[in-house]
């Protein structure tokens, strides 16, 4: 079942405790899911209402994007915990002989690659939500404009947190081609996502 079925209280207590999971990738996914949920709420207060009939079809599409992102991010809350177990398992492999050392080194590298996938998915999913928020804010029920702003704030925080978790894995990875392509992916997606979020926050409130 994982943490998706656990209470907020239990999740937060475990995350705060002196055990390695849930860690930063998982916590970022949860914050992102909370942000995506606010975007969904704004859309759900728009679709099915006579006043917003003209934009209903498009808002339904944006709702689809944000709802799928919310579910993906909720899955990542648990995926990140599971991925860390592999890393941890690899580090605890025996290392007495040269053969054991080589096998352990390889297992660690393999596990780190898997462990990096989840925060990378969180990063990309958050970027996707940020890309649609501006249009959602323009079309959605204006009573919920501050909730779209909250979505931007929380999803941006989650994107930054996810990036830190990708980078911490990159620091230990020896596959130079993968390191280079992953850094390029972060650099290609990050700036536009950040700009979109900041623009949305500025439009909600003069700062």
């Amino acid at each position: 079942m994982g943490y998706r079925a656990e209470s907020l209280e239990k999740y937060l207590a475990d995350a705060a405790s002196g055990r390695p999971t849930p860690g930063g990738g998982s916590a970022s996914a949860l914050a992102g899911a909370a942000g995506a949920a606010m975007a969904c709420m704004a859309a759900n207060f728009t679709v099915g209402k006579k006043k917003f009939k003209d934009v209903e079809e498009r808002v339904r599409e944006l709702l689809g994007v944000c709802d799928a992102a919310r579910e993906t991010l909720l899955c990542c809350v648990d995926e990140d915990v599971a991925a860390y177990a592999h890393v941890s398992g690899a580090y605890s492999m025996p290392k007495s002989t040269p053969e054991e050392k080589a096998a352990r080194r390889q297992a660690i590298q393999d596990a780190l690659k898997v462990a990096m996938d989840t925060p990378l998915k969180v990063f990309r999913t958050c970027a996707e939500v940020l890309r649609v928020l501006d249009e959602l804010a323009d079309l959605a029920n204006p009573n919920l404009v501050s909730d779209v702003g909250v979505a931007a704030a929380l999803v941006l925080g989650a994107l930054e947190g996810a990036q830190l978790n990708v980078e911490i894995n990159l620091a230990y990875l020896k596959d130079e081609a993968l390191v280079t392509s992953t850094r390029a992916a972060l650099e290609q997606t990050g700036p536009a996502a950040r700009d979109a979020a900041r623009k949305r926050l500025t439009r909600c409130t003069a700062r």
Copy 2:
């Protein structure tokens, strides 16, 4: 019991749905609690370890700040939901006679003041966490430096989200003295908290 005892899945589904609560103040509180939990984790991987004996006393104090913040923010997840019920109740009061209209107007103003208290508490609590993160990052187990960075990212997002929710209440409040003092409080606390968070994020990763 409220949402603290509900599952992550249930909370996120309700937040995303077409009902007014949980809304932006509550979602910001949850993201802030997830961030504070990461700060607690970094501290919990430091206290009780021989290697960090010299800084243990101070890290224990910082852990106390972050743990209290985590609990306060978790309480705000539900407090914000409860406060909105009062606002909603006030708006649905009868408004047929001038007396009813006046009573309704007063009830709305009273409810808005109460409703503003929760996001203001979230804002202040997040600012408090951001104030201690830099010192925590300097003293805590360096293996968890990225988790302190995640804490900064998520708590900053929560602070921004909370501020939007304070501001949306301010827009409807007619008590000019309260509006002025609340704006002053936001302006007094916000910039330093944002600077601290950004500094922490920049120190985790070159951007």
